[in-house]
């Protein structure tokens, strides 16, 4: 499908944005000198802080708006608070946050269970779509997993019998 001629000029819209006066082709910024005023701009009204918000140590002040969903809590929250002691260029910041995310997954399952909800992990992973569109691979995975599990159980039982 290589374009060896000028056929490409018939593609709808070809060349419509080549006018150098039409736009800055290089949208680094429409520089207006405001950078030199630093943070001295007329601020929007400030959203009241009603929950714990973790703030980057690189921020001079709380931005005017922010999300208030899911304030830090539990063990993951403790780790997130610790992570925010580091600046954004430190591994201590990001790796602690990733670890907190993984702990938070376990907390999420415990939260479900404590609210009498058993998470349907297979449904959450979209296995229904696999059954519909990817059945062969799904069945193969199930057969392989069943075979491996059966082999391990069989081997462990055999080992028990020998040691007994």
């Amino acid at each position: 499908m290589e374009n060896t001629s000028n056929n490409y000029q018939n593609i709808p819209g070809w060349g419509v944005d080549t006018d150098p006066n039409d736009n800055p082709n290089y949208p680094i910024k429409n520089y207006n000198g405001d950078d030199h005023q630093r943070l001295d701009w007329t601020r929007p009204p400030l959203q009241p802080v009603t929950v714990e918000i973790l703030e980057s140590v690189e921020q001079a002040r709380m931005p005017a708006v922010f999300g208030t969903k899911l304030p830090p809590s539990g063990v993951s929250g403790m780790l997130r608070r610790y992570a925010f002691k580091y600046d954004e260029s430190e591994y201590g910041h990001w790796l602690n946050l990733l670890l907190a995310d993984r702990i938070n997954v376990v907390e999420g399952i415990l939260h479900d269970l404590s609210h009498f909800r058993i998470p349907n992990i297979f449904a959450e992973k979209g296995m229904k779509a696999d059954w519909k569109y990817n059945r062969k691979e799904l069945v193969t995975k199930i057969i392989v997993a069943t075979a491996v599990t059966t082999a391990i159980v069989f081997w462990l039982k055999k080992k028990d019998r020998k040691s007994g």
Partner: protein, 379 residues
């Protein structure tokens, strides 16, 4: 209300949540009409973006109807149908005033490197997203725009991110008439970037990916050449050869942190998480572009480090341009392009799926089942 609910890597479900409330005088509450799943949503779905808390509602590409507004919202009215750019921007900080709406300094307490984004982890401000029946939209008068009556809702929802981001990818490439442009990635953004490269006068557009049905879609929608890198011995060498051993004028990385194609990158970036994802596409882009060429990055990477051949950037005198798209800046022009018939973005939508089936929708998109290109959720 029903909302998408993140439970951990590869696990999401639809669940009832409290309705959002006005928390700031410039907020509006939107009754969501439709919301896309973005390719970058897959990075948080896969657990790669730090500070993605269990219970978060994703979704930064959505349109809907204004049902409630704060005291300082004057230009929007109840009942207006608006499209909501994925950037949360104040319009008043030094960055917004210079058109860098994606770099707003008044919308994200958790990080200075990124502006606020709907439903994209607490690293991007901790806002709930639009994959829900209702969403809170801060700075309602700044970013959002009333949808013109002649714009199809499916085109409108693609104007919130994918079309502008693809366009900006091409724009940042500084494409000149006659240029050869190589786009790495045939996802929705890559397909759109390839299509938009023609607007800037490209003479040749090449897309590289490994998913055959997407390459076929790119050939048709983007009018480009498209190659499967698994069938090329070495994609960098292929590009060198096909450009007369010169290199492409412009390379675009439209893949980001989940690129296939290099075992080393995959193991260190995805399995061991020793770097912020797999940077194979960026690696190839740097090595495929000509000396003095431009590499445009719109693929999303994590906030730590990546293995890229920075020495070659120096030695080849490459310019790298990158940013999250400043959607608001581009909307008038892109609406014009739709009206003129240059492009019909909604052609890339392959699936409309009810929000209550969000688990399946994510898996279909993530596992590339049923020839999925772009998924729209309908609350």
């Amino acid at each position: 209300m029903l909302a998408m609910n993140y439970r951990g890597p590869f696990r999401v479900r639809a669940q009832q949540k409290p309705l959002p409330e006005i928390q700031h005088p410039e907020d509006v509450i939107v009754k969501v009409d439709r919301a896309c799943i973005c390719g970058s949503d897959l990075h948080i779905y896969h657990g790669l973006v730090p500070d993605t808390r269990v219970g978060t509602t994703f979704g930064h590409e959505f349109i809907g109807e204004v049902v409630e507004k704060g005291a300082d919202v004057n230009k929007l009215n109840i009942g207006d149908r608006i499209l909501v750019p994925f950037n949360i921007s104040c319009g008043r900080c030094a960055f917004c005033k210079q058109g860098l709406y994606s770099n707003c300094h008044e919308s994200n307490p958790e990080a200075t490197a990124a502006g606020g984004i709907f439903g994209y982890s607490h690293t991007c401000g901790g806002f709930d997203g639009g994959q829900a029946e209702y969403a809170r939209v801060p700075y309602g008068e700044v970013g959002p725009m009333v949808i013109p009556p002649d714009i199809h809702p499916d085109d409108a929802v693609l104007l919130t991110d994918v079309f502008p981001t693809g366009y900006q990818a091409a724009e940042m490439g500084g494409i000149k008439k006659g240029d050869t442009v190589v786009v790495f990635g045939a996802g929705p953004i890559g397909i759109m970037a390839a299509r938009c490269a023609w607007f800037f006068g490209a003479a040749r557009v090449i897309v590289i990916d490994r998913i055959e049905y997407r390459l076929e879609f790119a050939r048709n929608f983007s009018h480009c050449e498209a190659y499967n890198f698994e069938s090329l011995e070495d994609p960098v060498l292929f590009i060198k050869k096909t450009t007369g051993y010169f290199g492409a004028d412009v390379c675009i990385d439209a893949v980001g942190c989940e690129a296939a194609g290099s075992a080393l990158q995959w193991i260190t970036g995805r399995v061991l998480m020793m770097q912020a994802g797999s940077a194979t596409a960026l690696h190839w882009a740097i090595n495929s572009v000509k000396k003095g060429g431009i590499v445009s990055i719109v693929g999303v990477y994590g906030p730590t480090d990546n293995l890229v051949p920075i020495g070659n950037v120096v030695n080849k005198g490459i310019t790298i341009r990158a940013d999250q798209c400043s959607v608001k800046r581009l909307l008038p022009k892109l609406i014009h392009h739709i009206r003129e018939g240059y492009i019909e973005p909604r052609q890339i939508i392959s699936h409309h799926i009810p929000l209550k089936e969000v688990s399946d929708a994510y898996h279909i998109f993530s596992a590339k089942l049923d020839n999925c290109i772009k998924t729209v959720l309908i609350p």
